[in-house]
């Protein structure tokens, strides 16, 4: 194991320790906030995986986030006390009554046209499984079509961008099933066995924090595999990889689906900590914001993109609540973005990388190679 590899593991462990210690110093309000930002950190991981490592700039990551969120929210909506108070033995979401045709039976099977789709969601675990399966399935279908056709670069971005807007429109339009623009609110509490994960309690925070640690380690290990290396090769030169015998679309689709799965998981956790799901998850601005997090943190670093997401959200929250900046905070955030893109093209993680390189070179100088020519993949040696 090289020194650099050890340093990297140390940084990961340090980050894990930091987020695990947060409950000791934070009040429930901030703890819930940080939990949300940790969820955004997962989104950063998803973006880094597809943009930084697969070279696929997905401008519609919100589609997968939203899909995951809605699937769990549907289950939790049925678990909500109000859903049981609609005059039926079994739960029926309140908004369905408002949207029902006069005289429709107050039953989930047939109260509105497509309300039967909700039937299996009476089991919380169905919602959870679907929250993972649906994003992965959508991503696989998109991947198979788009990547087999050898669509690349900006065209993939445009397609994903159009798709997220399309789905957002459909969700808003299908009011009798989705509660349209209002989204799903007044949800029940997520339960694991007897434990109710109220968003403002410490166990919920740990639940999210541990999940983030697992997602981070999983993604980092995944790109450390040979398949991860081959993926980076397809990113650098699709043609070269193809003529070495690799089925490039297969690799792209696989990692695109993994990225979608992570976004779906993030969507579910977001529902747990914020207790709602809404079409705003599929707003264009949200998907683009995710890309900005990854760009600032460093898109070619899994942890960098994650920290980027958490930091930017913390800064936004703090600045926007500081008197005097209440109006100007978006300008300040915008300025940070511009400066990072101009002066740190590889993001904060790139800067950290160079600093570590410089320190190591100084330690064992003279070195054969100048600073800045090593790459992340070299860490494996």
């Amino acid at each position: 194991m090289s020194i650099k590899q050890r340093i990297q593991i140390a940084i990961y462990v340090g980050f894990f320790a930091l987020i695990m210690c947060a409950p000791m110093v934070l009040d429930p309000f901030w703890l819930n906030r940080i939990a949300k930002y940790l969820v955004f950190g997962m989104l950063g991981v998803a973006v880094a995986l597809s943009w930084g490592y697969a070279g696929i700039l997905n401008l519609g990551q919100g589609l997968f986030f939203g899909a995951g969120a809605y699937m769990l929210a549907m289950s939790l909506k049925l678990a909500s006390p109000t859903s049981l108070q609609q005059g039926s033995d079994r739960p029926v979401p309140d908004f369905m009554l408002w949207n029902a045709e006069p005289g429709a039976p107050t039953e989930l099977c047939c109260i509105t046209k497509a309300s039967f789709l909700w039937l299996p969601f009476q089991h919380q675990w169905f919602g959870i499984v679907m929250g993972l399966v649906l994003p992965v399935a959508i991503a696989t279908i998109i991947g198979v079509i788009v990547f087999r056709k050898r669509i690349a670069g900006v065209f993939v971005s445009i397609i994903t961008l159009a798709l997220v807007l399309l789905v957002r429109l459909v969700v808003i339009d299908a009011q009798p099933v989705t509660n349209g623009f209002n989204g799903l609110t007044d949800l029940g509490v997520f339960k694991i066995g007897e434990l109710e994960l109220d968003p403002y309690i410490v166990p919920t925070y740990y639940f999210v924090a541990i999940a983030l640690c697992l997602v981070l380690s999983g993604a980092r290990l995944l790109i450390e595999t040979r398949a991860g290396l081959i993926l980076q090769a397809t990113r650098d030169d699709q043609n070269r990889a193809r003529y070495l015998g690799f089925d490039v679309p297969l690799y792209q689709t696989f990692f695109f689906a993994v990225s979608a799965g992570i976004a779906g998981i993030a969507g579910m956790f977001y529902v747990v900590v914020s207790e709602f799901a809404s079409p705003t998850f599929m707003d264009l601005t949200f998907s683009i914001t995710m890309v900005v997090w990854a760009a600032v943190g460093g898109r070619s670093s899994i942890l960098g993109a994650c920290i980027g997401a958490i930091l930017i959200n913390m800064i936004s929250a703090t600045v926007s609540e500081t008197e005097g900046f209440a109006e100007a905070w978006k300008v300040i955030i915008g300025l940070i973005f511009v400066l990072v893109v101009l002066y740190l093209p590889r993001g904060v993680a790139g800067l950290a990388h160079d600093l570590i390189d410089r320190l190591l070179v100084r330690r064992k100088a003279p070195s054969r190679h100048p600073v800045g020519v090593t790459d992340a993949s070299q860490l494996a040696e």
């Binding site: 398949a227 090769a233 070269r240």
Partner: protein
């Protein structure tokens, strides 16, 4: 008698009326080094495109040993055993030299099969050997993006050697190289003779002389002549069509 490695039988492609390659037949024996010569537009690169699957042929067939690989998908042809180096050097720029070669050393192309860490002793040994062969041992940990033009060309050659295909197609391996670099390239190519079957497209006659055994001359998409350097140099048809009256080089 040596076995036939690659058989091209009446291969042709029609680009909307223009036949860039027309009824070309060639057989290349195992371990042979064949040079493809021809003026610009003679169809050399197109012929490589047809063999490697980049362009789909409209007539004729291509056999690798006894397998008909005509118009297969590129990655399948590559897996069957045809490696290709491009005219414009293409390597994985954001990976180190060693990582580039490690990619090529993955024998199994599947995603799931590659969900594992590290490389076998054998694979690492192969990579070290190739690094030595292409003279980039010192640069093993540098990003491919920082290599010189010549080194990039060698690295791409190294990718092919690591992949170890039966047939290697080289499209102008010395394009843009200095004389010294060209000489080193010919050494690398010569060391591959016998172990691999090579087909080389090249303009640089000094290089061709250093490596050539048999030469096939293409002209306007068709085979004009075939033979060793001497025969080609003295062939009146070739002189007329390509070399002018002064002969080679």
């Amino acid at each position: 008698m040596a076995q036939t490695a690659l058989t091209i039988d009446g291969l042709g492609v029609d680009f909307g009326g223009f036949k860039a390659v027309n009824n070309v037949s060639l057989t290349v024996e195992e371990g042979e080094l064949r040079v493809l010569l021809g003026a610009n537009g003679a169809g050399k690169t197109t012929l490589m495109d047809l063999v490697s699957g980049k362009t789909k042929s409209t007539e004729g067939r291509v056999f690798l040993h006894d397998t008909d690989i005509t118009n297969w998908e590129e990655h399948k042809i590559a897996r069957a055993g045809v490696g290709r180096k491009f005219q414009i050097p293409s390597v994985f720029k954001d990976l180190s030299v060693r990582r580039n070669l490690e990619v090529a050393s993955c024998r199994n192309p599947g995603v799931l099969a590659n969900l594992r860490f590290g490389f076998s002793q054998q694979a690492r040994h192969d990579v070290d050997r190739v690094l030595e062969l292409i003279g980039l041992t010192e640069e093993a940990n540098r990003l491919a993006a920082y290599l010189s033009h010549g080194q990039t060309q060698w690295l791409e050659l190294g990718l092919l050697v690591t992949q170890s295909p039966k047939v290697i197609l080289l499209d102008e391996p010395t394009a843009g190289m200095t004389q010294a670099e060209t000489h080193k390239t010919s050494e690398i190519v010569n060391s591959l003779k016998g172990k691999h079957t090579l087909i080389v497209v090249e303009h640089d006659m000094a290089f061709v002389r250093e490596i050539a055994e048999r030469i096939t001359v293409l002209h306007l998409g068709q085979v004009l002549a075939e033979g060793n350097v001497e025969q080609i140099e003295t062939n009146p048809k070739v002189r007329e069509a390509y070399l002018g009256s002064k002969g080679i080089g």
